[in-house]
């Protein structure tokens, strides 16, 4: 029964990710990326990770994609820049990408094929609720949580310094 929900969402994810890579313009890619993020949020919710699913919608589909769209609109690119072209003189990169893709997929399917890997324990009723995750976040992982806030502050300052026009 759960597979009936998982397969369509996973298929949607892969199709949307392919649309990002093959999209004709950056705006098309960004719209497809939003679709991928939302399908992924559905998969997270279905994996009992409610907190991560909500964060996925708010941070990725909300904040990060708005930033992407904002920059695409701001840059006002000419048509040659927005065309979906592969980088020139770089057929070697395409070959590397293809070989790498085949190797990664081969190793992973080889490792997990045949293995069923059902979870050994049954999930408890409260698994993955915001209260449970929050309790661990504020007790066991309180130092990484504080460091994350410092990281975000640093990123904010860095962004302002980089994007500021030269007025000196």
């Amino acid at each position: 029964m759960e597979l009936l929900i998982f397969y369509p969402l996973a298929f949607l994810c892969v199709v949307m990710a392919l649309c990002v890579i093959l999209g004709k313009t950056p705006v098309n890619s960004a719209i497809s990326l939003i679709g991928m993020m939302l399908a992924l949020a559905g998969i997270f919710a279905h994996m009992h990770a409610h907190f991560i699913a909500i964060l996925q919608v708010i941070i990725y589909a909300g904040a990060i994609m708005v930033l992407f769209m904002f920059v695409i609109m701001l840059l006002n690119l000419k048509s040659d820049d927005t065309a979906a072209k592969v980088r020139d003189n770089n057929t070697s990169l395409v070959v590397v990408a293809a070989v790498l893709g085949v190797i990664i997929l081969y190793i992973i399917t080889d490792a997990i094929l045949g293995a069923n890997m059902e979870s050994p324990q049954n999930l408890s009723e409260t698994f993955g609720t915001v209260a449970m995750v929050g309790e661990i976040l504020f007790t066991k992982f309180v130092l990484p949580f504080e460091v994350a806030s410092v990281l975000l502050l640093t990123a904010m300052v860095g962004t302002v310094v980089l994007a500021k026009s030269k007025v000196d």
Binding site: I21, F51, A97, I104, L137, T154
Partner: protein, 100 residues
């Protein structure tokens, strides 16, 4: 019950799609989108293992990954803007001053 192998395979497929996008596209913004796809693929693995082992550490890890992704995108797009200010293009083939 969805077995762990399904999550890992989905994660691997998305990661490979991200790698191909980063290596082949020449628009800097689409390259960033490829990086986002790769980070999301890692999140699927983390949350899948977290469900498998029945504790919440994996979800905290993927929370940290989301924080790092937010920081990386904001700084990266600021770099794209300052690149565009130097030279009015974001075609990665034009930026070869530090190559060889």
């Amino acid at each position: 019950m969805v077995p762990l192998s399904h999550y890992l395979l989905l994660s691997a497929i998305l990661f490979v799609i991200g790698v191909v996008g980063v290596l082949t596209r020449r628009n800097a913004i689409v390259v960033f989108m490829g990086i986002e796809i790769m980070l999301n693929a890692v999140n699927i693995s983390l949350v899948g293992f977290d469900k498998y082992f029945n504790n919440h550490d994996g979800q905290i890890f993927s929370f940290m990954v989301i924080c790092v992704a937010a920081a990386e995108v904001s700084v990266g797009l600021a770099i794209v803007i300052s690149m565009y200010r130097n030279k009015p293009t974001i075609n990665l083939d034009e930026f070869n001053i530090m190559k060889w």
